[in-house]
């Protein structure tokens, strides 16, 4: 074959392959769309060019589409982790692999995690295989009051560039053991937060010179404009009430992260339309800020009309290392303690997308949304349930991880049986 013919043939092949891959139909799905309290049974979800084009019960797969038969299994939007440090750490005890925060320096709110994202992290590989397609990765508490820095939205496709949106919000931690960086009092933390916002307002004012537009002020500009949230990690009721006051006084979009005593302030949070990203496992008085910890925090907040997303922290272990599995377990636990089932599902899919301002692109199974979907082998809120197929932008993701490779290397090949234990 002449070289140009070869090239042409190759071109056709690639184009043909691309066309086939671009249209996908998931059939026989129990589709939890998050746009309704009930699933669409026997749903056909059609995907073209990485977007969902239709969700129809009993719908036909388009001619030429690649068909994935869900066999009646549940299908959900890809999981959306509302608050993690994915991409910013590998082995937390090996500090050179940790980029999740700063202990010193003047960056403040301008500390921006986007420059540290490691797409090859094994934590991301596992989160993806566990069905997480999007994640907010945010800085940990810094040593410099009042801000931790700016977070980013990741899309966990198999790609070297995971950044979906930068400057997704500015983060701060107040109370608990964090007061030391403000001189030893949470009062000072709130004052510093307010004075920083005041200073940024002044520095960014039209009349100010360009020189006053410091990196920190620039980072705070969208926060002050109410375009992106100021996410405040607080647990004690008094701090939650302070956060509500702050949101009111500065017309900010505030998100509470943690919120262990948020149930005590449920009415006020609902009135202020402030969402809470909470850990449904947190039922122990781990510190004096958490004396009111209870398992039905999520249920009580929902009942009062507060928007809630769920993540599991577990001393940081689950928040990043088992991001996908733990958030499902947490949502299941919230449901076990009174949260309606559909709200449990939404707390790990559509609600995080709403809180972080990207609900127009993801978090639901609806025409026009990104085709980030997971087929589960059973109820997705049961911890023992596993993903069967993970699609991101309509592409099937590999479920191979460091762990599955180890399993396959060491799994005994013969002689396995379940033993019955003798008394």
């Amino acid at each position: 074959m002449k070289p140009w013919l070869q090239l042409m043939a190759l071109g056709c092949l690639v184009a043909g392959h691309h066309a086939a891959a671009a249209t996908v139909a998931i059939t026989h799905a129990k589709a939890w769309t998050m746009t309704s309290a009930e699933p669409v049974d026997n749903a056909t979800v059609v995907i073209a060019d990485g977007k969902i084009t239709s969700v129809v019960s009993g719908g036909a797969a388009p001619a030429g589409a690649r068909v994935i038969d869900a066999k009646g299994r549940p299908v959900t939007p890809g999981l959306f982790h509302a608050a993690t440090h994915l991409g910013l750490l590998e082995v937390s005890s090996a500090t050179e692999t940790v980029d999740s925060g700063i202990k010193s320096g003047s960056l403040g709110a301008a500390f921006d995690v986007q420059y540290a994202i490691n797409a090859n992290s094994t934590l991301i590989q596992l989160a993806r295989a566990d069905g997480v397609s999007r994640a907010i990765t945010y800085p940990i508490h810094s040593g410099v009051a009042p801000f931790s820095g700016s977070g980013a939205l990741l899309r966990l496709a198999q790609s070297s560039d995971l950044l979906d949106r930068t400057h997704i919000g500015v983060f701060a931690v107040i109370g608990g053991r964090s007061g030391g960086d403000a001189g030893g009092s949470r009062a000072a933390q709130w004052e510093l937060l307010r004075s920083s916002l005041d200073a940024a307002k002044t520095g960014l004012a039209a009349a100010a010179s360009p020189a006053t537009r410091t990196p920190e002020f620039v980072a705070l500009e969208p926060v002050l404009a109410g375009k992106v949230p100021l996410a405040i990690s607080v647990n004690r009721e008094s701090d939650i009430l302070q956060a509500i006051r702050l949101a009111h006084d500065y017309s900010l979009k505030v998100v509470i992260v943690g919120g262990i005593e948020a149930w005590r302030a449920a009415e006020a949070l609902a009135a202020a339309k402030i969402p809470v990203i909470l850990d449904p496992q947190a039922n122990l008085p781990t510190g004096f800020d958490e004396l009111g910890a209870r398992l039905d925090n999520a249920a009580l907040l929902h009942r009062a009309g507060v928007t809630i997303a769920t993540v599991v922290v577990a001393g940081g272990i689950h928040q990043s290392y088992n991001a996908g599995l733990s958030m499902r377990e947490g949502a299941g636990l919230a449901v076990a303690n009174g949260l309606p089932y559909i709200e449990g599902l939404k707390s790990i899919t559509s609600v995080p997308a709403e809180i972080w301002g990207v609900a127009d692109r993801c978090g639901t199974i609806a025409p026009g949304r990104d085709a980030d979907l997971v087929i589960w082998d059973a109820d997705p809120l049961e911890p023992a349930t596993l993903p069967v197929t993970v699609l991101i932008a309509g592409k099937e993701m590999s479920l191979v991880t460091h762990q599955t490779e180890l399993r396959d290397r060491y799994m005994p090949k013969a002689g396995l049986e379940v033993r019955v234990h003798k008394p």
């Binding site: 590998e90 082995v91 937390s92 005890s93 090996a94 094994t122 934590l123 053991r177 005590r264 496992q281 947190a282 039922n283 122990l284 008085p285 781990t286 510190g287 004096f288 958490e290 004396l291 009111g292 577990a314 001393g315 940081g316 272990i317 290392y321 088992n322 599995l325 377990e329 299941g332 636990l333 449901v335 076990a336 809120l381 049961e382 911890p383 023992a384 349930t385 596993l386 460091h402 762990q403 599955t404 180890l406 399993r407 060491y410 799994m411 005994p412 002689g415 396995l416 049986e417 379940v418 033993r419 019955v420 234990h421 003798k422 008394p423």
Partner: protein, 460 residues
């Protein structure tokens, strides 16, 4: 060979240990002090009735599932399991549609010593371990346990009826453990499981060397850890020989009491089992080698994230592993932790159980088992509920030396039971009723059944 040595040692001391289990009256001089308990349990069962639990799905903890089965409890013991049992005056509980299992056992807890709320004071000087020396074998964790730690209440309400409280893994010899029941009392002695032995917590790998190494002290390497462990056991051998000579009359006076060597000598005699924090395969095989060198057996490795790589060696040594379902990655020695660890060890004939190491995980040990089994099933293994319940009941019971008393639903066993609202491996299921020694210690339908911790009294 090692077994012969052990048997000989046990034979020698069974006749002379005054307070040891199975001791005879042959003691002529003062008893060996290694295993006597100067602080015996003052535990009293909670007020109790005889009870007939009717019509439940019963997982007995020993591999059996019985549908529509009854369990009859009298005087704190299980007296019958079967169908159509007669109450004979016992209080009847209808458990139709619900599940009954033995009380859950957590072999690795720090409840009471990572007290809640955890404050700055605890950060400066935590009771979880005495860390002034890599050898804290003279410390007894029971001397620190706060019986009013809210974590015990949470454990009870989740179906846990027995916990082993272990000291933390900073020292190589971290101290003696204590086995407790999560009952609402004011002091630890009233929680102590009567007649239960202590264990010795040991640690290997990163924790001891990183802590002491950073302080410019030994050990600062894995090999340094092993050297210190061997040196300590050499001393313990001498100490033990001194006692043996005294017992046989070959020396007139007993050796001067040494609390560290007391503990290590009791390990050498087999009276105190070793529970060892280790992650890496090589760390575990090295420690099994040390145990063989000194003629004892390691009862269980805890965490043991690479157990799946060395199941034959674990089996040969008769050593169990206590594991999580999914913790990994946060230290170098956890890099190769896999979720299939428990399933692989189990399927290859090893001895495995779930543990918590966390007051939060400790409230969901059945979910730990469910998660570990799920990935095992994905890998083709058969792990039904009646089997995996043993990972949190009968197997930890045996690891604690209490296999004849707890961890199973059978005639003559302690009536430590949980009535679950449904399948105990589902996240939606609650522990409806929890019995300890036949007493209803928690009833979900009656909040007054289980008092909350003192800490929270008067809280809004």
């Amino acid at each position: 060979m090692r077994l012969v040595v052990l048997a000989a040692a046990a034979g020698l001391f069974a006749a002379t240990l005054g307070a040891g289990a199975g001791a005879t009256e042959a003691s002529t001089r003062i008893p060996l002090p290694f295993t006597t308990d100067p602080y015996p349990s003052t535990y009293q069962p909670l007020p109790r009735n005889d009870t007939l639990i009717q019509g439940a799905t019963v997982l007995d903890g020993l591999g059996h599932r019985m549908d529509s089965a009854d369990v009859l409890v009298r005087n704190g013991k299980i007296v019958a399991v079967g169908q159509g049992l007669s109450a004979g005056g016992a209080k009847v509980i209808n458990a139709k549609g619900r599940w009954v299992t033995p009380g859950i056992i957590d072999v690795h807890s720090h409840d009471g010593v990572f007290p809640l709320p955890y404050t700055s004071g605890d950060m400066d000087s935590s009771d979880v371990a005495e860390i002034s020396d890599p050898n804290a074998a003279d410390t007894w964790i029971e001397h620190a346990v706060n019986a009013q730690d809210p974590a015990f209440v949470a454990a009870l309400r989740s179906g846990v009826t027995t916990l082993q409280i272990l000291p933390g893994s900073t020292p190589l010899f971290s101290g003696r453990s204590v086995i407790v029941k999560p009952v609402p009392v004011a002091d630890v002695r009233a929680m102590k499981f009567p007649g239960a032995g202590q264990g010795l917590k040991m640690a290997c790998g990163e924790n001891p060397k990183s802590y002491f190494g950073e302080k410019g002290r030994a050990p600062n390497s894995r090999q340094g850890e092993i050297a210190l462990v061997r040196a300590a056991f050499l001393q313990a051998q001498e100490y033990l020989q001194g006692w043996r000579d005294y017992e046989s009359g070959a020396r007139p006076a007993p050796p001067a009491r040494d609390l560290k060597l007391d503990t290590l000598a009791a390990v050498l005699t087999g009276d105190i089992p070793v529970h060892m924090h280790c992650y890496r395969a090589g760390d575990m095989t090295t420690m099994m080698g040390v145990a063989a060198e000194f003629g004892f057996r390691i009862r269980a490795f805890h965490h043991a994230t690479e157990a799946y790589k060395i199941v034959p060696q674990l089996k040969a040594a008769g050593t169990c592993v206590a594991v999580w379902s999914d913790w990994w990655g946060f230290k170098m020695e956890l890099e190769d932790a896999i979720r299939e660890n428990a399933a692989i060890v189990d399927a290859a004939g090893g001895c495995v159980m779930m543990h918590s190491d966390s007051a939060t995980v400790g409230q969901r040990l059945t979910i730990e088992a469910a998660k570990a089994a799920a990935v095992g099933k994905r890998a083709g293994l058969k792990l039904p509920p009646e089997h995996i319940i043993s990972w949190v009941t009968s197997i930890p019971a045996r690891a604690l030396g209490l296999g004849d008393r707890i961890g199973a639903i059978g005639t003559g066993r302690n009536a430590d039971l949980v009535i679950w609202s449904g399948d105990p491996f589902s996240v939606y299921t609650h522990a409806d009723q929890v019995f300890i020694d036949g007493a209803l210690a928690y009833d979900r339908s009656n909040p007054r059944s289980s008092p909350g911790p003192d800490l929270l009294l008067g809280q809004p």
